[in-house]
Amino acid sequence: MTELIVAFTLNGERREVRVAAHETLLTLLRDGLGAIEVKDGCGEGVCGTCTVLLDGEPVSSCLLLAARVAGRQVTTVRGLAPVGSLSLLQNSFVPHGAAQCGFCTPGMLLTAHAFLQQHPRPTREDIRRAISGNLCRCTGYVKIIDAIEAASAGAAPASPSGAAPARRG
C-alpha cells in the first residue's frame, strides 16, 4: 500500500500526515484527524454533507483524494469562527430554525459561507441555486434560505427578539 506524507492547513493550523494513496480527504479528516464535524452522508458526492472549503471553494471531501490537498487550505465548519463563538451566518441559522436534525448543517454552512463571500447581496433565487448541491431532508429548505438571506449584506437588521416571526393562520 503506497503511503504519502501530505502537509496542508486545516482551519488555519498546519498539519503533516501520512496517508494511503487511495485515502479520501473525508476519511483522513474524520478517522485520521478527528474532524468529525465533516459528515459522511453518501460517499458518492451527491448529498453535500461532507462539504469542506478547499482554498475557499466548496468541494465534496468524499470525492477528493487526501493527497490532493498538499499545500492547500482546508476549512471545515469549525474554521468559520473562533471556538465558542459563531460567525454571522452560523448565528443566523439559530433564530431562523435552519437546523433541524443538523446533519446537513455543517456542509450547508460552508457552501453558503463561500457563496456569500463571492455574492454578498444575492437574491433568494441565487441562494436557492447556490445550495442546490447540499441536500436537506428535514426543513424543506425555506428556513435555510431565510437564514442565509438574513446573513447577507443586503439583509435588514435582525428583529430584536432574535427569532424569526412565525406565520399563523
Partner: protein, 780 residues
C-alpha cells in the same frame, strides 16, 4: 380507561396571551451546538480498541443457501469475529410494539436476524464480521463462501395474492387483511347520482435521511451490553436482549441525536448486530452502513394499489365509498399489518361517508421489506380519496373547495370504523384558508407552459392505537441552585422533540427556557418515554413533562408561600425564584434549601397514560382506534411544460390545525419539511426494482428534492386549542406529508386536462398522458 391527564394545574388552561414560553418561536436548545457541529452523532463516537463491524448481504432476492463457509474469512489477519445464524443465541427477532401490550394477532412479526437456509430479498443479512480495520473487515466479507441456489420468487403483489403463487413464507403470502363496513355501500352506489371508479398506484420510496444507520457498542460495567445508536426507539434494548439471550436489564441503548428518522430508524437497524459482535469479541464495535447499503436493504415505504368507487348525489354530497387496497410487504412483516390498519382506518378520507366498505390486504413478496415511514399507510390513501373528490367535482361542475367543505368531517361525526371525533375537526377551514392563500390566478411564466391549481385535504392519526396502552414518563427536578433538569427517554430525531419539552417545563415552573437542562434517550438512565414515532412524542412525552412539572410546582409552591407568608395562589414563580404579590422575592436556592430542610421532594416523576381501549374488531365497527387525528389541506399551483411533461411547483400553501403550536417555528419546520418530502414522493422519488433487484442503490439514481425542485412552502397554522397534547396541542410530525402528491395530481389535471393515477408524476408519465410519446395510456 386510564385516568385523565393532569393538565398542569391551571397553567395549561391559560389563554395563549398569558403564556410566556409556550407558543413562542424560540430557538431550540440544540441549535447553537448544531451550527458548530458540536453534536456527537452515532457515527462520530469512537472507543479505544474499537473494531469495525460489517454485514454480508444476500445477492439474490430469493435463494436457498446450500453452503456457508467462514473459515477463510476468519483466518484473515485482523479479523476478530465472523458470525452466521449458528452463532446467534436466538435468531428470531420479534417485532413487537416496544414496551406495550403486544401479540395482537398479525401485529407480532418475525424476522430472522441472519439468514439460515433461505434468503427472501436482495440485501438480506447473511453474516457479520468484526475486524481491526475496515479494510480487513471488507476482505473478510469477500472471503466468506456462500453457495446459493436461486429459487423462484414472486415480485408482484397481485401475483403473490394468488393461491398458486410461490410462497415467500411457509404460512402463505397473505400477511394481514382488514375490513371496515358501515352502512351499505353497494346499495348506496346503486342509488347515487354520480359514481366515479378508478385505480391508483403508488411506489416504493426510501426515507433517505442524510445520516445512514450507525452505532457503537461496548460491554460496560457489570457486563451490560451498551449500544450508542441512531434510533427512534431506545426500547429496542429488549429486542437486543432477547436475541442475545440476556436479561433485559443487561442491555442498555443510548439514543443519540439522530440525523433524520422519518420511520426508517423505527425498526431495529444496527443494534442487534452490534450487540452480537461486541458480545462475541468483548471489544467495542462500530457499524456504519454505507448509503448504498442503506438504499439496498433497509425497509421502504409500502407501495399500494388503491381501487376507489365513490358515489355522490347531484348536490355533491358523498353517499358511498368503496375501497379495495393491496399493499406490498416485501419479504418480511415488520410493521406491515399496522401500516395496513392505518390505511384502512383513514381510507375514506376526512369526509362524512354514511356507507363505506374498505377491504385491505398486504402480502409478502421477494421485494425489499416495507415498514414504517412518515405517514404510515395513512398518507398513501390521500392520492385515492383526493383524486376521487376532484373527479366528482369535475363531473358535477363543482368548485374543488365547495365539494370538500360540503362533505368535511365535523366534531361529533364518526369515521367509517365507528370512532367519534371528539375534538375540533379543521378540514373545511383548512381547505378554504389554503385555497384562498394562493391568491389570484397568474399567467404561466413561459409560453409552452400551462398553469393549474390543486387542493388536497387529509386525515392522519397522532398517538398510538388505543389498545396498545401507550404511556410515557418524564422526570423534572430542581438542582439546589435553582436550575431545572428534565430527564426523559425521548429520542430526538431533529423535529425539536426535546426542545419543546423544555418549553413546557419552563412554562409551568416559571423559569427561563434557556436555563433548562434536558437529558434524553438513555434506556438505563432516563424514564422511558416510548418511541419517537406515530406523531406521538409531543403528545405523549409532552403530557408526561406537563404532569411532572405540575407535580413539582405543587410541591415547592406551598413551601415558598409559607416562607413568604402569603397564600400559594398569590405566589409567582420566575427564573430568579418565588415572589408574592407585593414583589417580595425569595431566591430559588433559599426555597430549595427550605424544601430540603422540610423533606419536601425537589423532583417529580410524571407518568402519562394515553386514553386506552379494548382491541377493536374493525369488521364490526369497533369504535375508538386512535386517540385523535390531525387534519389539514394543501393548495398548490403548478406549471406543466406541454412539450416535455415536466411539472414545476410554483406556489405551495400548507394549512393544518395543530391545536396549539408549542413552538410555532418547529411546527412550521415540520410542515415545510413534510410537504417537501411529500413533493418528492409525488414528483420524483422511486426505488426501482427489477424482479426484486434494486436498481436505486445510490443517491445519484434515487432522487430527492433539492432546493431547486421545490418552492417556498408557506405554512398556515390553525390553533383550535382542542388537541389532546399539552396545552391543547395536536401532533404534526406525519400529517404534512399526506396531501402533496394528490394536490399535484389535481393541479396537473387542472392545467392540462389529464389525470395521472400513478406516482411519481414524472415528465414521462405526463408526456405519455398528453400523447407526446405515442398513444395515451388508457385510464384504468
Amino acid at each position: 380507561m386510564a385516568k385523565s391527564p393532569a393538565r398542569g394545574g391551571s397553567v395549561a388552561a391559560r389563554p395563549a396571551e398569558e403564556l410566556r414560553v409556550v407558543g413562542r418561536p424560540i430557538a431550540r436548545h440544540d441549535a447553537r451546538d448544531k451550527v458548530q457541529a458540536a453534536i456527537l452523532y452515532a457515527a462520530d463516537w469512537q472507543m479505544p480498541g474499537m473494531l469495525h463491524g460489517v454485514v454480508l448481504r444476500s445477492i439474490y432476492p430469493s435463494a436457498r443457501i446450500r453452503r456457508l463457509d467462514t473459515a477463510r474469512a476468519a483466518a484473515i489477519p485482523g479479523v476478530a469475529a465472523v458470525l452466521t445464524a449458528r452463532d446467534v443465541p436466538n435468531n428470531t427477532l420479534w417485532t413487537d410494539v416496544p414496551g406495550q401490550t403486544s401479540q395482537v394477532g398479525a401485529l407480532r412479526a418475525r424476522i430472522q436476524v441472519l439468514a439460515e437456509r433461505v434468503v427472501r430479498y436482495q440485501g438480506e443479512p447473511v453474516a457479520l464480521v468484526a475486524a481491526e480495520t475496515l479494510e480487513a473487515a471488507h476482505a473478510a466479507l469477500e472471503a466468506i463462501e456462500v453457495e446459493y441456489e436461486p429459487a423462484v420468487g414472486v415480485f408482484d403483489p397481485e401475483e403473490a395474492a394468488r393461491p398458486d403463487a410461490p410462497r415467500v413464507h411457509e404460512e402463505g403470502n397473505l400477511l394481514a387483511r382488514w375490513h371496515v363496513r358501515c352502512g351499505d355501500a353497494d346499495a348506496a352506489l346503486e342509488r347515487a347520482d354520480v359514481v366515479v371508479e378508478h385505480t391508483y398506484r403508488c411506489q416504493f420510496i426510501d426515507h433517505a435521511y442524510l445520516e445512514p444507520e450507525c452505532g457503537v457498542a461496548w460491554i460496560d460495567a457489570d457486563g451490560v451490553v451498551t449500544i450508542r445508536v441512531a434510533t427512534q426507539v431506545i426500547e429496542h434494548f429488549r429486542d437486543v436482549a432477547e436475541v442475545l439471550g440476556l436479561p433485559h436489564n443487561r442491555v442498555r441503548v443510548i439514543g443519540t441525536y439522530v440525523g433524520g428518522g422519518f420511520g426508517g430508524k423505527e425498526d431495529v437497524t444496527v443494534e442487534v448486530f452490534l450487540g452480537l459482535l461486541a458480545s462475541r469479541t468483548r471489544r467495542p464495535v462500530r457499524m456504519i452502513w454505507s448509503r448504498q447499503e442503506s438504499l439496498l436493504a433497509r425497509p421502504k415505504r409500502h407501495p399500494f394499489r388503491l381501487h376507489y368507487t365513490t358515489g355522490a348525489s347531484r348536490d355533491g354530497t358523498l353517499v358511498a365509498q368503496k375501497v379495495d387496497l393491496l399493499a406490498d410487504s416485501g419479504a418480511y412483516a415488520y410493521l406491515s399489518a399496522l401500516v395496513l390498519m392505518y390505511a384502512t382506518v383513514t381510507a375514506a378520507g376526512p369526509y362524512r361517508i354514511p356507507n363505506a366498505t374498505i377491504d385491505a390486504r398486504v402480502v409478502y413478496t421477494n421485494n425489499p421489506p416495507t415498514s414504517a415511514m412518515r405517514g404510515f399507510g395513512g398518507m398513501q390513501m390521500v392520492l385515492g380519496y383526493e383524486s376521487q373528490m376532484d373527479r366528482l367535482a369535475r363531473r358535477l361542475e363543482m368548485d374543488p373547495v365547495a365539494i370538500r367543505v360540503r362533505n368535511a368531517l365535523r366534531k361529533g361525526d364518526r369515521l367509517p370504523v365507528g370512532q367519534e371525533l371528539d375534538t375540533h375537526v379543521g378540514v373545511a377551514e383548512a381547505a378554504q384558508r389554503a385555497w384562498a392563500a394562493l391568491g389570484p390566478r397568474r399567467a404561466p411564466s413561459a409560453p409552452g407552459r400551462r398553469a393549474g391549481r390543486g387542493l388536497a385535504c387529509n386525515i392522519q392519526p397522532y398517538g398510538r392505537i388505543v389498545w396498545l396502552h401507550d404511556w410515557a414518563s418524564a422526570w423534572v427536578g430542581f438542582e439546589m441552585d435553582g436550575t431545572l433538569v428534565v430527564r426523559t427517554g425521548v429520542p430526538d430525531v431533529g423535529g425539536g422533540q426535546a426542545s419543546s419539552l423544555c418549553q413546557i417545563a419552563a412554562e409551568v415552573l416559571g423559569v427561563a427556557v434557556e436555563g433548562v437542562a434536558v437529558h434524553i434517550g438513555d434506556s438505563a438512565l432516563t424514564p422511558l418515554a416510548g418511541t419517537t414515532t406515530a406523531t406521538r412524542q409531543l403528545y405523549m412525552s409532552g403530557n408526561a413533562v406537563l404532569q411532572a412539572a405540575a407535580g413539582l410546582r405543587a410541591q415547592v409552591l406551598p413551601v415558598a408561600a409559607r416562607m413568604l407568608e402569603t397564600p400559594p395562589d398569590r405566589v409567582t414563580l420566575s427564573d430568579g425564584g418565588a415572589a408574592d404579590a407585593s414583589g417580595r422575592r425569595l431566591e430559588w436556592a433559599a426555597v430549595l434549601k427550605e424544601c430540603a430542610r422540610l423533606g419536601v421532594s425537589r423532583s417529580h416523576l410524571g407518568v402519562y397514560h394515553a386514553p386506552a381501549g379494548d382491541p377493536v374488531d374493525l369488521d364490526r365497527g369497533g369504535g375508538r382506534i386512535f386517540p385523535d387525528y390531525t387534519f389539514g389541506a394543501h393548495a398548490v399551483e403548478v406549471e406543466v411544460d406541454i412539450e416535455t411533461g415536466a411539472v414545476a411547483v410554483v406556489r405551495y400553501v400548507a394549512c393544518h390545525d395543530v391545536g396549539r403550536a408549542i413552538n410555532p417555528q418547529s411546527v412550521e419546520g415540520q410542515i415545510q419539511g413534510g410537504a417537501v418530502m411529500g413533493l418528492g414522493y409525488g414528483l420524483m422519488e422511486e426505488v426501482v426494482l427489477d424482479r426484486g433487484v434494486n436498481l436505486s442503490t445510490n443517491l445519484a439514481s434515487y432522487l430527492i428534492p433539492t432546493s431547486l425542485d421545490v418552492p417556498d412552502v408557506e405554512p398556515l397554522l390553525l390553533e383550535s386549542g382542542e388537541g389532546k397534547g399539552p396545552f391543547g396541542a395536536r401532533g404534526i410530525g406525519e400529517p404534512p406529508i399526506g396531501p402533496p402528491a394528490a394536490a399535484i395530481a389535481n393541479a396537473v389535471e387542472d392545467a392540462v386536462g389529464v389525470r395521472i393515477t400513478e406516482l411519481p408524476i414524472t415528465p414521462e408519465r405526463v408526456a405519455r398522458a398528453l400523447g407526446l410519446l405515442g398513444a395515451p395510456r388508457t385510464d384504468p
